[in-house]
Amino acid sequence: MDLHAVTQAAAEMPHVTGYMYPNEAELHWSILIVIYPYLTGLVAGAFILASLERVFNVRVLQPVYRLSLLTALSFLLIAPLPLLAHLGKPERSYEMFLTPHSESAMAMFGFVYAWYLMVVLLLEIWFDYRRNFIEWSKTKKAALTRLMYKVLSLGTTDVSEKALKFDDKVGRIITIIGIPSAFLLHGYVGFIFGSVKANPWWSSVLMPIVFLFSAIVSGIAMVLLIYMVTSMFRVKEISMPCLNRLAELLFYALIVDFSLELLDFIQRLYESEESIHILSDMISSRLFISLIVTQIMLGTLLPIFSIAMARFGRFPDEMKRVTYLFAALLVQLGIFSTRWNVVIGGQLFSKSLRGLTTYKLDVFGLEGILVSGVLLITPFIILAVLSRILPPWMESGHRAST
C-alpha cells in the first residue's frame, strides 16, 4: 500500500482528535451492544414491578401484573439477538454453553439468561395462567384454539381450590427466587462493563448497581406506557390508583438512579484520576447531547419534576395521564441514552488517554439503524401476539379478580 492509498484510507476513517492507538480508531462494540443492555434492563425492570404486586402485595398494581410479566418475556426473547448478530462468528456461539471459560463474565450470560427465561419467567407465567388454560381449553369456540390451550396446560386438569392454592404458592416462591434473579440478570450486565479495568469510563464498582436501578426505571416506565396505550386502544378505563402508584414508583426509582449516577460522577471528579481530562473532554464534546441533554436533562430531571408536579400537585386526572405518558416516553429516551453513553462513550476515547474518535452510525447493514429499529420494535410485536394468546387484562380472569 503506497503512501497515497494509506492517506486516502486514513481520510475515510473516523474523525480522530488527538491520538488514538491505531487499532482503536474504529469502535468495536456498535449500536447492537447498546440495544442489548437496554432490552435486558426492560426485562429486569418489568419483572421487578410484577414481583411488587405478587410478593409485597401491592394490590393496586394488579391491573399491570400480567402485563409486566408478558412485557418481560417479550423483551427477553429478543435480548440475545443483538449479541448474536454482533459476533464475528455467530455460528460458534454455542461454544459458550459447551466450553464456557469460568473466569469470563461474558461466558455466564447464556446460563443467567437460560435460568431467567426457563426457571423464572416461563414457570411463573405458566403457574399464573394454568387455571385459565384449562378453562379456555373447554370454553373457546375454535377447536384449534381449544387444542392450543390444552397443550399449554400441559395436560393438567385440576382446578380444585387446593390446586389453585398450590399454583398461587408456587407462583409466589418463583417470584421470590425471581427478584434476586432479575437483580442478577441486569447487575451482571453492568458487571460486564464495570469489571473492565482497562477502561476508566466503565471500570466502577457502582456500575452493576447503576445498571440495576436504571433497569427498574426503564421497566416501570415501559409498563406504564404499554398500560396506557393498550387501554386507549382497547377503550377501557385506566385504573387511576394503579397509574398513580406506577408514577410514584417511577419517581422514587428515578431519584435513586439519579443519586447513584451523581455519586459515581462526584466520586470520579473528586478522585480526579489520570483519565479525568480526557473524560471531561469527551463529555463536553462528543457526549454533550446524549449525556447532558438527553440523559440528564430530558431523560431524568424533566421526568422527575413533571411526575412530582402531576402526582403530588392538584392536577385533574386527564392532565396527570398526559404528564405520566410524556414523562415515561422521556424516561425511555433517557435510559436509551444512558446505555449509549456507557457503551459508545466507553470507546470514544483512547486508552492512551490522548484522543477522541467518533462513531458513525450506518443506516443499512447488520449494525445499522434499520436492523436496530427492527430489534427494538419486535418485542412489541411479540407482546401483541402474546397478549392475544395469554390475555393479560385484569377483566379476563385474573386470579385475584375472582
Binding site: 500500500m1 503512501l3 494509506v6 484510507a9 486514513a10 476513517m13 488527538g18 491520538y19 488514538m20 492507538y21 491505531p22 487499532n23 482503536e24 480508531a25 474504529e26 468495536h28 462494540w29 449479541l83 454482533h86 459476533l87 464475528g88 462468528k89 455467530p90 455460528e91 460458534r92 456461539s93 454455542y94 461454544e95 459458550m96 459447551l98 466450553t99 464456557p100 471459560h101 473466569e103 469470563s104 463474565a105 461474558m106 461466558a107 450470560f109 460486564i192 473492565v196 479495568k197 482497562a198 477502561n199 466507553g346 470507546q347 483512547s350 486508552k351 492512551s352 488517554l353 490522548r354
Partner: protein, 262 residues
C-alpha cells in the same frame, strides 16, 4: 425360582447419565462442524519435539535506540499476513514530540510503516523520540480473563495466543486490552494480535520485528536464561512496563520510557 434379572432403577439410570454428561459434551464439541473442518493452525503450531515448558519468552524495547523507521511494523504485516489497510496492527511505532512545556504530541501515521512526516504544528519542538508498541504478553492478561470460550490463552512458554478456530468474535478481549494491541481480523472475523511470531520462535528464530530492526531496539529471548540478551536487558536496562498499576504483569519491558509513554 427364576434367576433375578439385573434391573436398572430409574434413579441409577439418571445417575449414570448425569455422570456421563461431561463425556457427551466433549463428544458434542469434538464433532462440531468447526472442529471437523479445523485445520492445524500452522501459525501457532510448534514443531515436533518442541517443549514449551522449557521456555519463558520476553521482549525488551530500548526507546533510546529507536529511529522510527517502521521496518518492524512493516515486517510484522508481511510475516503475519496482517491486513495492509489502516488500522490493523500487531505492532506499531509511536512518535512523541515534546514541546518545552506541556503535554507531548503523539502520532503514529500508518503505524509508522511509511515513516513520519515532518511536524508542522505551531509548538516549538524540544525533542522527539519513538516508542514501538505491541501486545505486552501479560502474565496476568485481562484479555485471557474475559474470553468467554477460552479461545485466547497464555501458552506454557509465556506467550498470549488466540485460537482462531475457536474464537467467537465477541471482541470482549479487544475491550479488555489496556494497550490497544488487539483488533478483529476483517477476513477471519476473529480476534488477532502479536504472537511474538510463535511459528518462528519455536524454531529458534527471532520474531520478524526483532530480526529486521536495524538498531537493535528490540531485544528478545528467554527471560529465565542468564545467557539470553533479554535477561541482561531486564536486569541492567533500567526498565519499566506500561501501565504497571493495572497489575497485568507485562512481559514486554521498556528502557528509557518517559512518564508520558502509556
Amino acid at each position: 425360582m427364576s434367576p433375578k434379572q439385573p434391573s436398572m432403577e430409574r434413579r441409577d439410570f439418571l445417575d449414570s447419565m448425569a455422570r456421563r454428561l461431561p463425556v457427551w459434551m466433549f463428544f458434542l464439541s469434538a464433532f462440531s462442524p468447526e472442529n471437523l473442518l479445523a485445520q492445524s493452525d500452522s501459525a501457532t503450531e510448534p514443531p515436533p519435539g518442541y517443549d514449551p515448558t522449557k521456555h519463558n519468552y520476553a521482549m525488551g524495547v530500548d526507546i533510546h535506540k529507536c529511529i522510527g523507521c517502521g521496518r518492524c511494523a512493516d515486517a510484522c504485516k508481511n510475516e503475519n499476513h496482517v491486513p495492509r489497510e489502516p488500522f490493523f496492527y500487531r505492532t506499531w511505532v509511536e512518535r512523541y514530540i515534546c514541546p518545552p512545556e506541556g503535554d507531548a504530541i503523539v502520532d503514529s501515521p500508518n503505524g509508522g510503516i511509511d515513516g513520519f512526516p515532518e511536524y508542522k504544528g505551531d509548538k516549538e519542538v524540544l525533542r522527539t523520540y519513538f516508542v514501538p508498541k505491541l501486545c505486552n504478553h501479560c502474565e496476568n492478561a485481562p484479555c485471557v480473563q474475559v474470553c468467554p470460550v477460552g479461545a485466547t490463552f497464555v501458552s506454557r512458554d509465556g506467550v498470549v495466543l488466540v485460537d482462531e478456530s475457536y474464537c467467537v468474535g465477541c471482541r470482549y478481549c479487544i475491550q479488555a486490552c489496556p494497550y490497544g494491541a488487539r483488533y478483529l481480523h476483517p477476513e477471519t472475523k476473529t480476534a488477532d494480535k502479536c504472537t511474538f511470531c510463535y511459528h518462528r520462535i519455536t524454531k529458534g528464530l527471532l520474531p520478524a520485528c526483532v530480526e529486521v530492526c536495524p538498531t537493535q531496539t528490540r531485544v528478545f529471548g528467554e527471560a529465565g536464561h542468564r545467557s539470553s540478551p533479554i535477561w541482561r536487558f531486564m536486569r541492567f536496562g533500567n526498565v519499566t512496563v506500561l501501565k504497571a498499576y493495572l497489575n497485568t504483569k507485562p512481559k514486554v519491558y521498556y528502557s528509557g520510557a518517559d512518564m508520558e509513554v502509556r
